[in-house]
Every structure is written in structure tokens, then in C-alpha cells.
Symmetry: D2
């Protein structure tokens, strides 16, 4: 019942602080005989790695992952897998200014009020650095998906920075990896770049919206009523730093639909049900339909900014706070690989959970 754990059969526990010696993750329940090595995990970690362009934090971390257990001669063994990432580019003195004052919009004050103690260096446990561990375990989850649902493919991307949305008519998934914003709309990239540069120069930060889809998800994943696939995905995404909202399928706009509009009609095509629309986002009653799973979430702007904000100290004194250090002008960007990782973990877990309870797919149609 660890509160730093996620997942039921494919479960993991992250540990570590932003400026401690290391961060990492303990993964348990992974099936045996899956291929796994550090190079594979590094591939995914490199996508989240900070300092790669001027739109993310300038902290320089190689994020080199070590596999300490659970893998033998290149294969998982079914035993717990320990992944460790050393912290190398800490600059803890950057944080001495905020040792006793609470950054507005930051977990500083709540950790203090909960625990009476906190590792204030770089956000400690509340730092987005924790998400590197998620990306690493996501790499393991992808091995599970390859083995259990070979055609499954996950992709996340940014659809909005501040008020700047993509133009859906120009959506091209081939563009996503080709720009620093994971933006699927080539026409939006330049504008986003200018806007972010301006935001950074003004000492400020900005929010964003991430969308994540999973294609090729088998029908029948999810476990009513409280382990619904969408409930687990909502928890998974809301647990990412700075996320304030999660939408599945039609999301908030489902409120404005009529039942006739919302109901995704069904036909039978090539021996399979085919839905004529996807307002459900691929999930009905908490269980996957076999359509694409589609979700979106909003990421608030980082609270570590150079503009002074009014706050108080531990002793209740009124002060202003400015956060020096190296911060992301738009943390939403680095949330993209994290979203993919969490999607992979939730789906791997539900594939295993389904296999445990039900065994194999049933309820074929036709």
C-alpha cells in the first residue's frame, strides 16, 4: 500500500530526491524472459532528458540508468528490477534562498505542513525529476506490451501552449519527433518557439495541453468498477507533476453533447466491430473497446519563475520570492514522454490483470 507505488500486477515504486545522490524505481511483477538492457531504457530516457534545447531546463543530467537487479543475461527473470539514475548536476546552493520561504504555486508549503521537514534542494521529492523514473519504467512496460499486444503503439504530443493551439487539419504524426515541442503541426512550431522564447525572457512560464493516444489496444482491458481503465489513466496522469485536469475522449465537451450525438455507432467490418466515431476515447464502462484510447491533460505553468511573488516564510513573515536556478519555461514539453510512459504502464498492468482473471480474450462477436 505504498503511496509511492503505482500498478497492481505490473507495479513500481519510485524513490529519490532531485538533489540527493540518485533517483530510481523498483519494478515488481514484470513477466520473465523479456529482452531488457540499459540501452533500451536509455533510448526512452533520452527523450525526456533535460538540457537538450533552450526550451527546457538547462540542468545537464546524462540520466544514465543502471539496472541493478531482475535481469540476467539480457532477459527479465520475474524478480524485482531496480533501476538507478545518479544525480550529477545538482547545484543545491541555488536553493538556499528558498530554504525558509514558500514558493507560491509550489509544493514547498504543503510538504512543510504535512511532514514538518522537507528536502528543499531542487524541490526534493516534489521535483519533476521524479518523472525520469517513470520514463525508465515505461521502457520496461513497453517490453510487456510488445510481448502481450504486439500491434500496440503509444504516442503523445503537445496540442497547446498557452492559448496557442495546433490546427488539427495539419496534424501529422510524422512531425512530432522533429521539433523541440513534440508538436504534430509543423505550422505551429515557429509561433510556439517565439512565444516560449518571449516567456522565458520575461522570467515567466506557461501552461500546456498534452494529448496521448494508444492504438491497437485489445478490447476488454479494464476492470470495473474502481479499477476502470479510465479511472486508472486519470490517476496516472493526474499524479504527474503540475497536471490539473484529465480528459478521456470527448472530455469536458461531453457535457454539451446529446445522447444521439455522443453514442458512437457500431458496424461490423472485416470480422470486427467498427465504431463510426470515438467520443468514448476508446473506453466504455471502464473497459477498452478496441478503438484508439485518447486522453488529454493540462499542465500548469511551472511555479519556479524569476518574477517576484508575494509569499511568507516559515516564521510567517511576509516576503517576496524569486526562484533562481534552471527551470523549464514550459514543463508541459517534458511531460510528453512521461505521458507515454504512464500510458504504457497502465496498459501493461491491465493486460496482465485481464490475463490473471479472465485468461484470454473472450466474447468474440460474429
Amino acid at each position: 500500500m505504498s503511496t509511492n507505488s503505482f500498478g497492481r500486477l505490473f507495479s513500481f515504486t519510485t524513490w529519490g530526491e532531485s538533489h540527493g545522490p540518485a533517483i530510481g524505481v523498483t519494478v515488481d511483477g514484470c513477466p520473465p524472459e523479456l529482452p531488457l538492457d540499459e540501452a533500451w531504457l536509455q533510448h526512452w530516457l533520452d527523450r525526456r532528458r533535460p538540457g537538450q534545447n533552450r526550451f527546457t531546463t538547462q540542468r545537464r543530467e546524462p540520466d544514465s540508468v543502471e539496472i541493478l537487479s531482475g535481469v540476467f543475461e539480457g532477459s527479465t527473470t520475474g524478480a524485482p528490477i531496480q533501476l538507478m539514475i545518479r544525480n550529477l548536476d545538482q547545484r543545491s546552493k541555488d536553493y538556499s534562498d528558498i530554504k525558509d520561504r514558500f514558493r507560491p504555486g509550489h509544493a514547498d508549503i504543503t510538504y512543510w505542513r504535512k511532514y514538518g521537514i522537507r528536502d528543499y534542494r531542487g524541490g526534493g521529492r516534489a521535483s519533476a525529476r521524479e518523472t525520469a523514473s517513470r520514463v525508465a519504467v515505461g521502457g520496461i512496460a513497453r517490453r510487456v506490451l510488445e510481448s502481450m499486444a504486439p500491434g500496440l503503439r503509444i504516442q503523445a504530443y503537445l496540442i497547446q501552449i498557452g492559448a496557442l493551439e495546433i490546427d488539427r487539419s495539419r496534424f501529422n504524426s510524422g512531425e512530432i519527433d522533429g521539433n523541440p515541442f513534440w508538436c504534430p503541426d509543423a505550422g505551429a512550431v515557429e509561433g510556439w518557439g517565439e512565444f516560449l522564447t518571449q516567456t522565458r525572457k520575461s522570467g515567466d512560464s506557461i501552461g500546456a495541453v498534452v494529448e496521448c493516444i494508444a492504438e491497437g489496444v485489445p478490447a476488454g482491458l479494464g476492470a470495473p468498477v474502481y479499477a476502470k481503465l479510465d479511472a486508472d489513466l486519470a490517476a496516472a496522469m493526474m499524479s504527474i507533476n503540475a497536471v490539473k485536469a484529465v480528459e478521456i475522449g470527448a472530455g469536458m465537451s461531453a457535457a454539451t453533447l446529446t445522447g444521439s450525438e455522443n453514442a458512437d455507432e457500431i458496424e461490423f467490418r472485416q470480422d470486427n466491430p467498427r465504431f463510426l466515431s470515438n467520443n468514448s476515447g476508446g473506453i466504455l464502462g471502464g473497459i477498452s473497446t478496441g478503438q484508439d484510447i485518447i486522453l488529454r491533460f493540462a499542465v500548469k505553468p511551472a511555479s519556479s519563475i524569476l518574477n517576484p511573488r508575494a509569499t511568507i516564510t516559515k516564521s510567517g513573515e511576509a516576503v517576496a520570492v524569486v526562484t533562481k536556478g534552471r527551470h523549464d519555461p514550459c514543463v508541459g514539453i517534458r511531460a510528453v514522454p512521461v505521458a507515454e510512459a504512464m500510458m504504457a504502464c497502465v496498459l501493461a498492468d491491465h493486460l496482465m490483470l485481464h490475463r490473471g482473471q479472465v485468461g484470454t480474450n473472450r466474447g468474440n462477436i460474429g
Copy 2:
């Protein structure tokens, strides 16, 4: 690890189908020596009860709850509490038409594909009838809250039906209980009534947005990283039938804020931190700030409608389906007491979890 369970220390498992003999909930971990009787639970159940006006299903269920265990001489004992609600007004024959055909927008098809069997009568386990159990356990959770956080107060209400939103300038919490829509804006009620009447007459249904706030929540509740208070609330609300999106605080609109705008500045007033705004929705880093917790969720329109929709049968045949029976034109209305119940359960659980790990509030300021 039951998938029909929710909660860590204050945990419950719901059971039962819409048209089976009964539904209910097994509650475990409740503190001893809290006052509890059936009248108290009935009070909350009556708020969700169907058939009370023409805007909800005409199924007539008294929803009388029986306490079968865990209470002795009017007090909880610390042992599991079993609550049972008999189903009395089933009309299973209403459902013979949909025995072999899948309603678009409904869990019919996903239950079939997952399990290869389903109790099709009235939606079986996927029916919103399950939420009566949530409201009942919410009544117990309120006893925990009274005992552990006496000033805490929870209220939910509708802020939108279809495209019709309330006017926030007319917000009056005193209005909420006085109309069939839990609407805090007296000026919106008539319009909503006409719109819903029209929706119902046209054989259709409509979505809605519920808002839920909790006042008087102590600072320090929530447990990073995967048991964040907002992650648990997101899962709790997303697990309610027909919910497609959950927002905390600024929600989706956080994407458009700058860091300067978003950061809720802090002052020290009357021996306590006081925030100058509440974009965070009362939660920072997954832990409560002491401000009001504010969340919203979108409820899609019910999929059981009279307008024919294209679908298929179990054998893959193309057919049209119409759902007779007694249905809610706007299931969002009855989601309001369910939202309050789930909020109460999450907060009770986190109060106990905090007490278990940390003992008492610490980290005072000033």
C-alpha cells in the same frame, strides 16, 4: 487488490447488479465509536434516489438501506460494515430487446468482450444503480470527517447542462437544495427545466458538468507521489459512471495561464497562511493547502435513449437499437450526491492515512 474496492485505510467494496436481488457495499477500516444508524444513511440516499421528479428515471426504488454488521448499539465497532439495499422495482423484461444487441455508447459491448457473459438486465454491474452504494458509504465517511475534521463541509452542484451554464455572479449555495437540478443559480433553473423537458420529449439525453467543493480541509492531506490527493480524487470521480473528464482548480484552463498568474500568492493572516487566489484548487504537490478543494467533472449524456442508433448484435448482424425502459435524460443530476460521497470517502481515507503515518499535524507556520 479487489478491482471493485476503493480506498486505503477507509476502504470499501461495492457489489450487486441493477436487477439482481440487492446491491450493497462492504466498508472496512472505519474507526470505532462513531454514531451510525440507518436513518443517517437514508438521509443521504434519499438525495440520490430515483423517481423523485420528472427529470430523473421513473424507476421507483425506496433505496432502504440495512446495516448488517459492524455497528453495535448505535456505534461503529471497527469491524466491517455491511450495507445492503434491496432492489424492488426491477422490470427486467424491458431489457429483452437488448439481450443480444449492443447499445452504442454503453458498456454492453465491452463487458461482452471482456467476460464473454453479462447480466444485461438494466445494465447489470455497469448500471448507475451502483452509485447508491457509494452514497451510502459516503454517509459513513461523513461520520469520520465529523470526528476527525469537524469544520469540514462538502457541497456539489451542477454548473452546466448541455451548453447552458450558470451565471457565477448569481451563485448562491442556499439555492442548491431548492431545485431539482442542484443548481446554485436560481436564474438558470427555469431554462434548464424547459431544456430538459424538451430533451426528454425528443427521446434524447444530455451531458452536464458537476462542481464539488470541500471547505475546512486541514492542510497536509495527501501522499505523494502516486497517492496524491488530486490523483485519488481524479480516480474517484472518473470511476463514476459516464464521467469523461476531471478538473482540479483551474483545470484545463491552467494551460493558458502564465506562472505569474497561476501562482497563488500567500500572506499570513490570523495565525494562518492565506492564499490570495485558488488556481491550485486547494492542492499543491498532491497535498492539501488548507484552502477549499475545488473540482469539476463532465458527465456524458446517458446512452439509453429512444432515438434509434445503428449497432450490431452478438452475431455481427447490423441492426438499429432503441432503449426503452426508464432512463435519466441527464444522469449528471444524480451524479451530484455521488460526487459528494466520493469526496467524503477520499478525504476520510487521507485523514486516516495521514494520522497513521505522521500522527498529528506538524509543520506549523509562524
Copy 3:
């Protein structure tokens, strides 16, 4: 994390007090499409039912079980299964004498000190009546076993009452159901009967040893390190009322063996490993070997006896206590079907857990 729950994938939560309106169990995670009806469960409940002969309590309970959910047209649906057994033959006034005094050897005093309140009627939640729910859920677990490990067979029996042990050379499993003691040694039955009659007449009670074996268990069940099959079995058996010790295989006597004696040598016979002895009790490193699983546990004598014992009241006054009412002179007898049920639950859970993580048996030999 309910403390009244057991199991991981095949999980259940028992509820109810000895003299409340009903007891029962909520079972979650059961695979769909297994045959299940009340007659099947009743068969197993009847084996544990009190009042069947003069060696068990004279409380007359039909122990009729009702299935309230999770079964449709004779098959499990994958949804939670609620089983309820009404209490009919309560005689709560029998217990007014012990309302304020603590029976030595009984949970009276510990429930009081933990919760500050207890349902003293008939032992409340601490009563052996709770084990009826275990036997009922064991009936469901057997359906899982039939489906997933068809040749698996479980049998428990008494091997000792007080100092009277069976003669292993006369062991005949065919005798077990033919006498009131589940005794596999026909030659021991008469002596046990005389001894128990004498014990009952003297107003006393006596301990016993139960042995339980499972044949046809597939190799590979169990999950190191903390979900070892033997660790789960030890917890399962120790959680039964009055159990004070659990042994697997050689048990306590393993202490006196040398490594040469203890190591069960292996040969390859008929395409399978065959062990030349079974000191391990069918479990090595927490995982089943494919041999018979063998365990034993000691049941202490019931603490409800007619002989006066020195004790105190809630107010600390020294008194003597005598427990009238209808009690078992040897509760070990009725623990036999409970042992079988718990064994069935543990094995069903581990079969599902193995299927979830590993999929199918691997690691064949030869």
C-alpha cells in the same frame, strides 16, 4: 488494504458478527463463466455446520447461503459475488454474564483494549462463526481450481486430539468422511469419542492438530519473496480462530534434520521430476514443486468453558467467569473444512497470479 480481506487476484472480505442479523463474504476477482449456484456452496457449508453431532456446539444454524450478486443464469460473471448467511439461532441472553468480564483465553479483552467497544454477543466478530464465510468462498475457489488445475484435490483431517494421535500405519483417506472427527484412522475413532465425551462432561475443552494436503498442484505456484506460497498458507491458517502454529512439510522437526536427510532427492520418471521424499511439503523457495502440499496446524482448546476461571471486569474487579452457552468441546473438529477452504483460496489466487505474471507454465524439464 482492508484488514478483513484475503487474497490478491482472487480476493475476499468477510463481514458479520456471531449474533448480528447475518454474516457473509464479498468475493472479487473470480473468473467469469464458472458454474455456480447455492446448492454447490451449501454442500461445503454443510460440512462445517454446527449442531450435527454431540461433539460440536449445539447451536442450530441451517447456514443457508444466498448468492446476491455476481452470478447470472448459473455462471459467474466476473463481477463481485456477495454471499449472505442469515443468523437464525442466536441466544444473545446467554452472553449477558460476560458483558463486562473478560474470558481468559478469549479475544474479549483485546477487542476491548483496541476498540473500546465490542459486540460481546457470542464473540461478535471474533467468533468462529466467521469461518462459515470462509467455507462458502472456498466453494467458489474450488470452481476456479476445477477450471485451472483439473486434477487438484484438497483434503484435511484431524491427526490429533489432546495427546491422542492417529496411527499413521492405519491411515485411510476413505475413513475421513465416515466419522464425526474427520479422522483417517478408524482405529482411533472410538477412543477419541470417549475422550471428548469425558472432556465435555467435565466442562472443559481440548486442543487438536489438523493436517491438510493438496494433490495435483502444478509446479510453479508461489511468488517470492513475501508472497511465498508457504508464507501465504501460514497467514491463511494462522488467521483461523484458535490456531497457534503452522507447519509445512517436515515442520518443526526440520530443525533436527541434517542437510543430507532433508534434501528431497530427484529423479526423472514418466517425463516428470519425481521426488524421493517430501520433507519440503511440496514447496521450495516459496514455489510449488509439483509434489503434494502438506501442512499442519495446532488448534488451541476453546476458551468458552464451564470451569470457572479467574479474571477481571471492565472496572478492574477480580471475578470468576464461567461461559454458559453452546460451545465446541474441540473446535479443531470444525476447523477441518475451514482448512480445506483456505487452502483452496490460496491455490486459486496463486494460479491466477501466476497466469497474470507468467502466462503459462514454462521451464519444462527434459
Copy 4:
């Protein structure tokens, strides 16, 4: 639901193989503001460390523990604590002989049949080396106990090696730390030494019995029905390598007691209940009585011996196996600090669980 995790609120997950780069443990739920550093943990680890005398394995491991997270400026923070112990003295080539053959009495064959793959070097995950992690986390649990139950004291010792039992009349707890066997009977030490020397020279190993007591345990710990304190202790001890039986209080001999003999009579002395005997081992109905908790467990002889035993290979071939390498002639000796650690973890967890549900002790007497 990690199968390599233990505990509810104070929970931990161990990881690592005997001959991998490191082993360790992820501890979650620890209360904040407890003093913790590596020296404190090392103290406990040194008690279990191999190679300290000729009666344990000659593997030379410093067992130096690193704290990688969850501690800041010498105090726990409430965040996950990661402890890592590097493996330094692996001699993996010792194990090439057993790569394809299964040691009788060892988990070799069951890991193979479960997973189809295993790290055969030094027992991999099944090695007793895993218990170093338990001892480390036990050091943290002791900090919890100091804080929540200051007078609580835990001590384990050997009471039997092979057939050689201690003489209870010579029991002296002051002797335990003064000999290589944790033996409380000075008169037994020489005989044990001679016997073990002989056992080792004959290439064999021998079993043992460990007893563990906890004094000063508050009344009221434990959570019926499936989280009984004795059920959790049974699982905790049975999960230790090579343990085959667990007894609480009178244990197996409870079978031979009458109810009159077994019932620990109660008097009221110095404002507290006082029991005149302790057949219960300090636990009634799964809840602590306030008496000493007493348990015993049997440790089988190590299966890694020099005497050849008949076995088979992966391909089913009949062979003999001899285990070279550096092994314990009596693994029971090193189980002593492990027993203490597991006792500490169970009690810390139940103290927190009790505080979470019930808050403070209640149900005072007198």
C-alpha cells in the same frame, strides 16, 4: 500488490540477487522526523554479516549500506527511503557446476519451473543474502518503535540446533550476544560448537529453532480478521529462507492442552491487567494483550552441502550434485537478527495501522 513487498503502512520492497551488483530495499510510509543515518543501520547489519566466525559462510561481505533517499540532514522526511548494499565478494564461477542441475532441497527447480529462467549464481533471488535487506529495514522499523512505543524491546536467540536444545533453567538473556550462536544458555555453547564443527567437517548442515520475543508491546495491536498480528507474524517469519514452521505462544503443544490449562487467567495489578501465564504468546483474537509476544520458528538445514545427492538436469538426465562454494553449516544462526528485524517491521506497521484507524489507545480497564 508487489509480491516482493511486505507491510501495509510501513511497507518495503526488497530487490537484488546474491551475485548481482547490489541488493537493497525500498521503504515507504516511514514517519517523518525520525533520526536515521548509515551508522545506525550498519550496527544491525553487522549482527547478520557473514564470515564473522567459522560457523557461518566464509563469504566476506562488508555489507555497507548506503542511504540513497528519504533522509535529509539526519532525519527521515516521510519520502521513500532507498537502501543499497553493494555485493563485493561474489565468486560466480563457484556456481557453474549447478547451472543446469537442480540442488535437492533448493529453490533451483521451482524457479526454473515457474519462470523458465533463473540467475543461478549463488541462489540468485532465492539466496539468504536477501535477508540483509530485511535487517536494514528492521533498523528503520526500530526508529519507529522508539518513537511510538518507547519501552518496546525485541530479542531473538537460538534454542535448538539439531536435537540439542537449551536448558531453560539456565536461560540468561545476557549471554545471547556473547557467543557465536545467539545462545541464551552458556552451558549449551560448547556442545553446540563441537556438534557444528563436526557437521561442517562431514560436509553436511543442520536445522535449528529460533525464538523471538517482544517485550513492552502495547495492548491493542493487530487487526482482525486477516491482518491478525499472529497471521502477519506467521507470514513474516515463514517468508524467511528455509523456515518450515511458526509457533505463537504454546504453539503446536496447544493441541494437548485443556481449555482450563490454556486459559491465561487475569488479575488486576498496579492499574493494569496482569496475566498469570502466557500460553497465548501475547496475542488473543489476533490482537496484542500487552504481554510479551513470543514466537518460535524452525529453520531447515541448508541444502547447499558437500555430500552428493541424486538429482536431475534441465534435460532430465540423472546426476549427482555437490554444492561447492561457501555455505552456512547452520543457517538458523544468521536467521536470528532477521527474526528481530521482521518482528520490528510487523510491530511498527501495526502501531501505525492502529493509529490510522483508531487514533490512540482506548478501552482502558479499571
